[in-house]
Amino acid sequence: MSEPAAPAADQVLDCVGAACPLPVLKTARAIKELVPGQVLEILATDPGVEPDMRAWTSRTGNELVSIYKQDGVFHVLIRRVG
């Protein structure tokens, strides 16, 4: 888990309280609203969000910029690629 030293997000997606698989489904939808190069920040409390977002970004070719947990909330920063 990396330290909170991430670029500012262009869009924030609130998935706090949403259980698997909703964070992944919402992320897949939200990333399409960004242009390539922009960063989406997902806020989530689902305990599986880190492995899920690693798998999702590696499969879709988007870039996982960082993941950190602060005050019980995961912050996942993903840059849209392509």
Partner: protein, 128 residues
């Protein structure tokens, strides 16, 4: 009935349980939805008692946790909304005294050879 994109990862789920075991009804749909969100091509094949989960008159009445939580329709639409395709075979419609008209729209009928062909060409087959 074939996979449409040879460059995409292809996942075939097989679901054999029906309305008598509602605790098992939702997972294949949400795994399939997540797979579609990962840009996989995804189909779910319903056989044995599985086709009963696609009955129009059932999907609002059952859910994995009974009266708590979302009904089955929610999980089905989450998957189909992301492009997951739903398949049944005629013998398992017969087994459950169903016809295609009893099922929600969009379900496609295949046979054993088509199923085996899809399974052989898939990157993974996940069976419930």
């Amino acid at each position: 009935m074939t996979w449409t994109d040879e460059h995409q990862t292809k996942l075939l789920y097989v679901h054999t349980h029906g309305i008598d075991d509602p605790g098992r009804c939702a997972t294949p749909f949400f795994l399939a939805a997540a797979a579609a969100a990962m840009e996989f091509e995804v189909m779910i094949y319903f056989t044995m008692y599985g086709p009963t989960l696609l009955r129009k008159d059932v999907i609002d009445k059952i859910g994995p946790k009974g009266d708590q939580g979302q009904p089955l329709r929610y999980f089905i639409e989450q998957a189909t909304g992301l492009g997951v395709r739903l398949l049944v075979c005629q013998p398992s419609l017969d087994l459950n005294d169903l016809s295609l008209g009893d099922l929600i729209d969009g379900v496609e009928v295949i046979g054993a050879a088509a199923f085996n062909d899809l399974a052989a060409a898939a990157d993974a087959v996940v069976s419930f």
